[in-house]
């Protein structure tokens, strides 16, 4: 890139410079004459939260800035992989249009290493990390510096049918045993999880590997760990789940929403999924929702309680933006407790501020869920499981932290997909070699 631009004259530089100067002049002139013309537009690249909480947060913060800035939401696709692809392409092109971006928690090392996002100075960093969940803060940190403000969090729960298993199984092995017994008596017995070759499969894998007591990479993200016995254990669980009677027929292409649909159809006894399934079941399948229980993600026999993967979004400041100071300010405002609560209530997004999980404003919050069949709405508690979420998130596990995360993730998904075809012994070696290649930037996955 540097070479390319040195060899070639930059035809647009002059006009861009002129425009830049004009903008400065214009804003300087406008500054005195009233706040309207001096308002800087801060562009926030993000997927759209359908409940509208992002738009509201943008509007609230713009107002609170007293005319200093106006946050404009630039909509990205819903799929996180596609969001990343679009952002990365623009950032590599040094696009100065990106002031703020919603960043999936897994992107921080890559974006930080490439110099695409600006680090936070220590005092501002303290302000946006105080009282936040430790693992959430860790996702926004790279090489000891904070690169994004923790905003929303996410994690999966274990869902079960109270009428089928009054006490929820605590481990994968127990769940499979229960599923076999249910199948033998002709009752619903499927176990829904995410088996398509995509990020969701890596989430499943990461949770299992961590629950079995090992990790994918070492602490500084430079080497594969995947300790053999533990990894084999984790892989064996995946294989068994995928080949047992409990395996859904289309597991190899199942994403979160496929699991939800199958669950609402009533054929399943267990499901690993995010909390969006709760309001959905209440609307689409009230009978099943009444029977629906939740518990901490199952552990692996003999390896203690589960460790579950953390998800969610942080807000990063684009390194090439023209108004970085204002962007930091805006990011701080957007990730405030108030906006987190709003995103939780309107969009069902879990907060990163720990105390909110005990706050009645969240725990007692209700929402109107329209019944799909009758059209009547009913009040449903939004976060009856706040305590389980909090406990899970407090010791949640991060996906591998490395600038090569995307390569590593693809390597994992590629190696273990389809899960029914896993060979627990051989795949440990295959995973190690594929991930090692990925860390060298030589993977084709």
């Amino acid at each position: 890139m540097y070479e390319a631009s040195r060899r070639r004259p930059r035809p647009r530089l002059l006009p861009a410079g002129v425009i830049g100067v004009m903008a400065v002049v214009a804003s300087a002139c406008g500054g005195g004459g009233g706040n309207q013309s001096g308002t800087v537009t801060i562009k926030w690249y993000s997927y759209k939260e359908p409940g509208g909480s992002y738009d509201d947060a943008a509007a609230r913060c713009s107002k609170a800035s007293n005319g200093k800035y106006r946050i404009q939401l630039q909509v990205l696709p819903n799929d996180a992989d596609q969001q990343r692809e679009q952002l990365v392409r623009r950032l590599a092109a040094r696009d100065s249009d990106i002031d703020l971006m919603s960043m999936d928690v897994i992107w921080t090392p890559e974006f930080a290493q490439a110099g695409w996002i600006a680090p936070w100075d220590p005092s501002a960093a303290r302000a946006v990390t105080e009282g936040r969940l430790k693992p959430a803060v860790k996702t926004a940190t790279w090489k000891g510096r904070l690169y994004a403000a923790p905003f929303t969090s996410n994690t999966q729960l274990f869902w079960y049918r109270k009428s089928l298993t009054p006490t929820p199984p605590a481990t994968w092995e127990e769940a499979l045993g229960a599923a076999r017994r249910l199948a033998a008596t002709g009752k619903p017995h499927l176990f829904q999880e995410q088996g398509q070759r995509y990020e969701g499969l890596v989430v499943w894998f990461t949770s299992l590997v961590a629950s079995a007591g090992t990790s994918v990479l070492n602490e500084d993200g430079t080497k594969v760990v995947l300790e053999r016995t533990a990894t084999e254990k984790a892989l064996r669980v995946m294989k068994e789940v995928s080949t047992s009677v409990a395996a859904p027929p289309a597991l190899a292409t199942a994403r979160e929403d496929d699991g939800r649909l199958a669950w609402e159809a009533g054929s399943s006894a267990f499901m690993i999924n995010y909390t969006f399934v709760w309001p959905s079941a209440n609307g689409n399948a009230p009978a099943i929702a009444k029977d629906m229980g939740w518990a901490r993600y199952p552990g692996i026999e003999g390896a203690g309680p589960s460790r579950v993967t953390i998800g969610g979004f942080n807000i990063g400041v684009g390194a090439y933006g023209k108004n970085k100071d204002l962007a930091f300010e805006a990011a701080r405002c957007l990730t405030s407790e108030q906006n987190q609560l709003d995103a939780a209530i309107k969009g069902g997004l879990l907060p990163t501020t720990e105390t909110l999980y005990d706050d009645p404003k969240l725990t007692q919050a209700t929402q109107d869920v329209p019944n799909a069949a009758t059209g009547k709405t009913q009040k449903v508690r939004s976060f009856p499981y706040a305590d389980v979420l909090k406990a899970t998130l407090k010791d949640a596990v991060l996906r591998p932290q490395t600038p090569f995360y995307n390569d590593v993730s693809l390597a994992i998904a590629r190696t273990i997909h389809p899960t029914a075809g896993i060979d627990p012994v051989k795949d440990v070696d295959r995973l190690r070699s594929a991930i090692t290649k990925a860390l060298k930037g030589e993977g084709l996955e």
């Binding site: 631009s5 070639r8 909509v75 799929d79 623009r90 092109a93 696009d95 799909a372």
Partner: protein, 281 residues
């Protein structure tokens, strides 16, 4: 020779025709039907909607209220039209020279064009991406117009050459004997005669630019230049985990209708453009 054949034969031909028409139109009809289905009928596995609705088009979540689709439509039309005009203009000059003028290097032009027709676009998206980055052409109209124009030039040059060869020689010669320069001869005499061929190659070029996905997805990233195929592939559903099949179908129908109208109206020309050269040379 066939007119004495039995009615059975006639029946078989009718049947064959029906099969071909079904073959071509069923997937399109399927998209139309899918786009008219309300949300709760999407997964009923039926071909036709029970209670058709325009929600996927004009509803709150419909394509016309989508934050991306309308601008993608604008980009697609603009980019495809400009690329078409440029490609056909350049091709016209080249084809005229190839057919009417004697100059060394003619083979090189034709052979080069042929080579580019076989060229795999994926081989240059990396370099183009990197160049566009430094030239600030990334995510702009020219950033797409340039590759479209390039990859359609061969088609346009060959099609136009085939058509130009059909134009009567004598008019051109007569004009030049009358003292017109070769360029005047081109403008006054040949251009009007060449119009049908120009039009035909324009349609073919337009279809290419309208169809492209690889460049569109690699060299754009926002509403500024993203075209319809890329927009449809990246459609935003109503929630993070939701897949907007109905809206995708609606968007697809919107961009397919103009193409269907175009092929219906200009079918003779398109077929001529695609086949005439192979026969007449």
């Amino acid at each position: 020779m066939d007119h004495k054949r039995a009615p059975l034969n006639r029946f078989l031909w009718v049947l064959g025709t029906i099969v071909v028409v079904l073959y071509a139109l069923v997937p399109v009809a399927w998209l139309v039907s899918l786009s008219l289905k309300p949300a709760d009928e999407l997964s009923n596995g039926k071909f036709l909607p029970r209670s058709p609705t325009l929600d996927n088009y004009t509803g709150a979540k419909g394509v016309f209220n989508d934050p991306q689709f309308p601008s993608a439509l604008r980009n697609s039309v603009g980019i495809a039209l400009i690329a078409t005009v440029l490609a056909v203009t350049l091709a016209m000059f080249a084809a005229y020279a190839i057919v009417r003028l004697d100059f060394p290097g003619k083979q090189f032009v034709l052979g080069g064009a042929l080579a580019i027709a076989m060229f795999p676009p994926v081989s240059i998206i990396g370099p183009l991406f990197n160049m566009w980055r430094s030239l600030r052409l990334f995510d702009t109209w020219p950033g797409l117009i340039i590759p479209y124009m390039t990859f359609t030039l061969p088609l346009a040059i060959w099609t136009l050459s085939a058509f130009f060869r059909e134009i009567p020689w004598d008019l051109d010669k007569a004009a030049r004997v009358d003292g017109a320069t070769p360029f005047q001869a081109f403008r006054r005499i040949i251009a009007p005669l060449a119009a049908p061929g120009v039009f035909t190659s324009a349609i073919l070029v337009f279809i290419f630019a309208w169809n492209d996905f690889l460049f569109a997805t690699s060299l754009t990233s926002t509403n500024r230049a993203r075209t319809v195929p890329a927009a449809i592939a990246f459609f935003t559903g109503s929630s993070q985990f939701d897949f907007p099949a109905g809206q995708i179908a609606a968007g697809s129908v919107v961009v397919t209708i103009p193409i269907i109208l175009m092929v219906l109206v200009f079918q003779r020309r398109i077929v001529a453009g695609l086949t005439s050269g192979a026969v007449k040379g």
